[in-house]
């Protein structure tokens, strides 16, 4: 396949590919991951709300025992990771849309990613601590 055929198949302007701008980068991956995490969060979010409501008046021991149950611990970890992942993808779009100064955009994005990784790991560690200590 010649380079010209590749361009036709790609439906992209050759100049755009050469400059490496626009859809020549990783936009589709971001878009798709945002949808997949959204679909997961529909299920996980509803499960989380129901779980919290079931523990409404639970005392400490009951709440801790509920989180320590294998399935609950697993789903909580998945929920925390997916939630932060989806939040970063969403905030990225907002920042790219409204922060027009390049260095502020990059600084804000890096700060949000640091916070999200910190939050996600803290949440996972908390669940593991509850699940693994008797």
């Amino acid at each position: 396949m010649s380079a010209k055929d590749a361009v036709v198949k790609d439906r992209r302007n050759p100049l755009k590919i050469a400059r490496g701008l626009g859809s020549s980068q990783s936009g589709v991956g971001h878009w798709w991951t945002q949808r997949v995490t959204a679909a997961a969060l529909v299920l996980l979010g509803v499960w989380f709300v129901v779980t919290v409501l079931c523990l409404l008046h639970a005392d400490y021991a009951t709440a801790r025992a509920a989180v320590a149950k294998p399935w609950n611990a697993l789903l909580l970890i998945v929920f925390v990771l997916t939630m932060f992942w989806h939040a970063v993808l969403g905030l990225q779009v907002v920042i790219e849309d409204y922060v027009h100064t390049r260095w502020k955009e990059v600084a804000l994005m890096v700060a949000i990613k640091f916070l999200a990784v910190l939050g996600a790991l803290a949440g996972v560690l908390a669940v593991l601590r509850i699940a693994l200590t008797p």
Binding site: G45, V49, H57, A61, L91, G119
Partner: protein, 131 residues
């Protein structure tokens, strides 16, 4: 200030207010609110892991009037983002793009979020309050 000299697309003040525009803006606003709310989830888990005294303190804070108002806001944000998020997923699948359908599904998101929020807080109230 923007560091580009490119022309910007027309912004909010140009357009007539429409429900599908409000649902779109609200989807973003609730998304930002929920991104902050992730920290509350982690905070709860950390307090639960830290011990009974710590967890009771956390329960006291979220059960306070300010805590309850924040929880009310976050719960509605969650249900709105959930309902409208499902609407967006349906639209991403290529469905519901006729203008009347678009407007109807917008109102459906708003109504669904209010119904779910009322149901949850009615349950909390019937179960004897949040605290």
């Amino acid at each position: 200030m923007a560091d580009t000299q490119r022309p910007l697309s027309p912004h909010l003040q140009i357009y007539k207010k429409q429900v599908q525009m409000m649902t779109s803006i609200t989807h973003r606003a609730t998304g930002i609110a929920l991104a902050v709310g992730t920290l509350l989830v982690v905070c709860g888990l950390l307090h639960l892991a830290a011990g009974e005294e710590s967890f009771n303190h956390f329960k006291g804070v979220i059960g306070s009037p300010v805590g309850l108002i924040l929880l009310l806001g976050w719960s509605w944000s969650l249900f709105y983002h959930l309902c409208n998020g499902i609407r967006h997923l349906v639209q991403d699948a290529g469905l519901g793009y006729e203008i009347p359908q678009f407007i109807r599904s917008s109102w459906l998101s708003v109504a669904g979020s209010i119904v779910l929020t009322v149901l949850v807080w009615a349950y909390v109230w019937m179960a004897g309050g949040a605290a």
